[in-house]
């Protein structure tokens, strides 16, 4: 069954009684109080215990029955929020310099989690009737109630006392003062409501603007404004000065220049008044002159550039014409050389020396080639002969190796064959009989004898007989035994013994027979390794 969570009906509430009606139900009810709430349980008006959180189950049929028998029990429960909460209050006081100081104090309060039941002490005026709408019975304690109770004790004892020690302008930003106020408030609340389970966690005050601060602020504002004006004045002054510096004045005068130069300011003023001299504002003409100067400068630059380019082109042209001249001269020299060579060749041909030298060289070369060819043929012949000898020797060696290898292999296979054979078979094979024949002889020997010594003796007799009868294949051997040992001679021919080829056929059928086995009961062919017949389940091995 899920528990019903129990919380305060309004977040502004600090503690609240649960209504009796909530407990009343036919079935058992379970309540869960979160761990950040204190739950106070009352029975018949008496506080039973206080818990921080918990699960409670109430009511049910049994409870009801109990009520019928032993009288009903009144169960009450109050829950109180144990989380810190903040309340704000306005404050007003006079500073040392008699300025009114105002502010808002924020108090972080909490119901003491170690003594949650003490909260009951704060719940003054609690009624349980709750029927009169005019004076609704308080079944709860709100956070505002708490503040109302402590506020009157704070104004004079704490705020006035603290602020009266300071000038109004010093208050703002004074953490020392704030700490002092907090400490005082804590002391005060402890005095007031410490045993009621209320603790102060922190206090901060936000100050309003006081008269001194306002005056201070206005003064600062006026100073700032004056500074701005001064600054502007300075700027204007500087502009005027700049204009003055840039102004040219043309003095137009009909009076003597020397006189003018020597004239004092007053005299000049006088002259001006008499229109003897005329001030002309030459600012426009000065600007034009400056522009003309710039233009002239640009023209001169262009002129210099163009000149330089022309010089450069001229130099290039000169260089090309020089080159042409040189090439012409070179061609002439080459022509002369060719002419001289031609003359020399003509002279040589005339003297005939060239032809003779050529013939001698050719003959010598021919002879040398001939000798070289002869030598080469001889060397090749020798090489071929040597190769032939080497190859012959190699083949001979290879033959010998193969022979030895074959012998070794034969021996090895013989050994391997012997490995899986019984002593009787080895005996027969050593006597020169084939493996198949040996197997038949061994089977027969074992069949006829009791002990191994007897087997070996019988085997020896059989081998002798088989050798005498020239038995070569399995069929011949079986035929021999069919006819009896005495008539064995000639069996080889009688059984249609074929030389050579038959032995290989016989051996393959023997191999096949060895891989499978026939069930004596149902004649099904089974694997030689099978323990039981796969067809009838007959046991094949003992």
């Amino acid at each position: 069954m899920a528990s019903e969570p129990v919380i305060l009906s309004d977040p502004r509430m600090l503690a609240e009684f649960m209504r009796q009606s909530e407990f009343r139900s036919f079935f058992e009810k379970r309540f869960a109080v979160p761990p950040d709430y204190a739950a106070l349980l009352f029975k018949n008006g008496q506080l039973i215990d206080a818990f921080k959180g918990g699960h409670f189950s109430v009511g049910g049929v049994v409870d009801k029955l109990k009520g019928l028998v032993g009288g009903s029990t009144h169960i009450g429960m109050m829950i109180a929020d144990l989380k810190p909460f903040s309340v704000q209050t306005a404050l007003k006081a006079l500073s040392r310099d008699k300025v009114e100081v105002a502010g808002v104090a924020t108090l972080e309060l909490q119901v003491d989690p170690d003594k949650p039941s003490n909260i009951l002490g704060m719940m003054h005026g609690v009624t349980r009737s709750g029927v009169d709408p005019e004076t609704p019975g308080r079944k709860a304690l709100s956070k505002a109630d708490v503040l109302d109770r402590i506020r009157p004790h704070l104004s004079d004892r704490v705020f006035e006392a603290a602020i009266g020690r300071m000038d109004a302008v010093e208050i703002r930003g004074q953490t020392g003062l704030q700490d002092m106020i907090q400490a005082d408030i804590m002391k005060e609340v402890e005095r007031l409501a410490g045993d009621l389970g209320l603790i102060v966690r922190a206090v901060s005050i936000e100050w309003a603007m006081n008269a001194d601060e306002v005056a201070e602020m206005q003064r600062a504002e006026a100073d700032r404004r004056q500074d701005a004006l001064d600054h502007q004045l300075e700027i204007i002054k500087r502009e005027i000065q700049r204009e003055q510096d840039a102004t040219e004045i043309t003095l137009k005068s009909q009076v003597d220049l020397a006189k003018l130069q020597n004239a004092s300011e007053d005299e000049l003023k006088q002259m001006a008044l008499k229109s003897e001299i005329e001030f002309l504002d030459a600012r426009e003409s000065a600007k034009r002159r400056q522009e003309l100067d710039a233009l002239a400068h640009e023209i001169s630059t262009l002129e210099i550039e163009r000149k330089a380019r022309f010089d450069d082109a001229l130099a290039t042209a000169r260089n090309e014409s020089d080159l042409l001249e040189i090439r012409k001269r070179q061609a002439a020299v080459e022509r002369d050389i060719a002419l001289i060579e031609q003359n020399r060749a003509d002279q040589m041909r005339k003297s005939g020396a060239y032809t003779e030298v050529e013939i001698t060289t050719a003959v010598q070369k021919q002879q040398a080639d001939h000798i070289a060819r002869l030598q080469e043929i001889e060397i090749r012949g020798n090489e071929a002969e040597a190769n032939l000898t080497i190859r012959m020797a190699g083949a001979e060696t290879q033959n010998q190796i193969s022979l030895m290898d074959a012998q070794t292999r034969g021996k090895t296979s013989e050994i391997n064959a012997f490995k899986n054979m019984s002593p009787e078979q080895i005996l027969a094979i050593n006597a020169g009989l084939s493996a198949d024949v040996a197997q038949v002889l061994a089977e027969q020997a074992r069949a006829k004898s009791v002990s191994s010594a007897e087997t070996m003796q019988a085997m020896r007799d059989m081998v002798e007989a088989a050798t005498a009868a020239q038995i070569r294949s399995e069929e011949q051997a079986r035929e021999m035994f069919r006819m009896g040992m005495d008539g064995a001679i000639g069996v080889a021919h009688g059984a249609g013994g074929k030389e050579g080829g038959t032995s290989s056929v016989g051996s393959s059928s023997a191999t096949q027979a060895a891989a499978t086995i026939e069930c004596p009961k149902c004649r099904a062919v089974n694997n030689a390794k099978a323990n039981f017949c796969k067809q009838c389940g007959h046991k094949l091995r003992t």
Partner: protein, 385 residues
């Protein structure tokens, strides 16, 4: 048991290896007869010693995640079950019946909303326990009857699983039980719980579980018989390993004595000559005596007259002949499947019942039929007389 002392429990690995040869009827290594599943063409499986093909019949049952596993006195509990078919070869499984049984209560049948479960499929069943009257640990047995089918044949098996459910006593209703406890005593910090309740919850293994709980299914062979799914009314059973003894048949007309060893487990009995080569199964049925065949009467026997097989631990006969077959004195049409009982007599020729008959006799050891003796009798009024 018939098979000759296998060293390991049947079927061993050697048997599976030997069963790869379709013609093999015995394991060539341990000598056990290879009793193949009726659906061997699909599953290639061998029956285990209890006559079940573990490849075809692999039901799984689990308790669904999130189901409550404890209840108070006076309450009932719903058990959401998941039944699944874990056959790895795609053989469907048919959930035929489901039963639930409380501690002392009667078996109660559960209505199933589904029957066929394809391989890998799951079905959900909601079981409701009865009212729990007393506190303590209660045990519920759940029985499920499943069937596997192949052609006209069907094998049924019953499995059992049990669930233990703790039932708590009636909850405390007086507040007094709650507030005389201390939080520190149970180490729950700021929150106060009723320690007695915590203790109970721990004992009850409370709480819903996050994952499905796999229930172990055990074969319920007794239940199979009492519910009438296998065997003969709870009296005895004919397991697949039962030996067949053929008497009165001419040479090479009946197979060797022993269990049915055809791959499908069905023995065809009829005039067809391709049947009983040495060691192979199938029975050649002719009206003959001492090698002399009465051809005129034998013609009336169909080439495949009827089939014998073992199903649900019962010897069954399916009529294959167009002319029908008589069992005792009752004639049955083609396609009828009958259970053969001890001392039944099969009379293949409906119109000439005395011409040839095969009597059935069970030799029972404990509650299992060890041998079934099938004796052929050729009637006296035939032309052979």
């Amino acid at each position: 048991m018939v098979h000759s002392s296998p060293t390991t429990s049947y079927p061993g690995q050697c048997c599976f290896r030997a069963s790869l040869d379709r013609n093999a009827t015995f394991c060539d290594e341990c000598g056990a007869p290879l009793v193949r599943c009726m659906a061997t063409d699909e599953c290639g499986g061998l029956l285990d010693e209890t006559g079940r093909c573990p490849i075809c019949v692999a039901p799984r049952m689990s308790l669904d995640a999130g189901s409550a596993s404890s209840v108070r006195v006076g309450g009932t509990l719903a058990l959401p079950l998941i039944v699944s078919n874990a056959s790895p070869v795609g053989r469907p499984l048919f959930i035929e019946e489901m039963w639930i049984k409380g501690d002392d209560s009667e078996l109660r049948k559960v209505e199933l909303p589904f029957q066929r479960l394809n391989s890998g499929a799951t079905g959900e069943v909601g079981l409701r326990t009865g009212v729990m009257d007393t506190a303590g640990l209660h045990r519920f047995d759940i029985y499920v009857v499943v069937a596997t089918r192949y052609l006209w044949r069907e094998e049924r098996y019953a499995f059992a699983a049990s669930i233990a459910i703790p039932v708590e006593p009636e909850g405390p209703s007086e507040i007094i039980q709650n507030y005389n406890i201390q939080a520190d005593a149970i180490g729950a910090g700021m929150t106060i719980y009723n320690p007695t309740r915590i203790q109970k919850e721990r004992e009850a293994g409370i709480a819903t579980h996050a994952e499905p709980i796999q229930l172990t299914l055990r074969r319920a062979d007794t239940l199979e018989r009492t519910l009438g799914h296998r065997g003969y009314d709870g009296r005895y059973a004919v397991p697949r390993f039962t030996n067949f003894v053929w008497q009165g048949f001419d040479r090479e007309q009946a197979p060797l004595d022993g269990p049915i060893r055809t791959a499908t487990g069905v023995l065809s009995v009829g005039r067809a000559s391709n049947a009983p080569e040495v060691g192979l199964n199938d029975v050649r049925l002719l009206i003959s005596q001492d090698g002399k065949i009465d051809e005129t009467t034998s013609v009336h026997i169909s080439r495949r007259h009827f089939q014998l097989f073992i199903q649900n631990d019962r010897l069954k006969l399916r009529v294959e002949s167009q002319n029908g077959t008589r069992i005792n004195d009752e004639a049955y049409r083609r396609g009828a499947v009958l259970t053969l009982n001890d001392l039944d007599v099969i009379r293949p020729l409906v119109r000439n019942p005395e011409a040839v008959s095969i009597s059935v006799r069970f030799e029972i050891q404990h509650d299992e039929v060890d041998r079934i003796v099938l004796r052929r009798r050729v009637g006296t009024q035939g032309s052979l007389s």
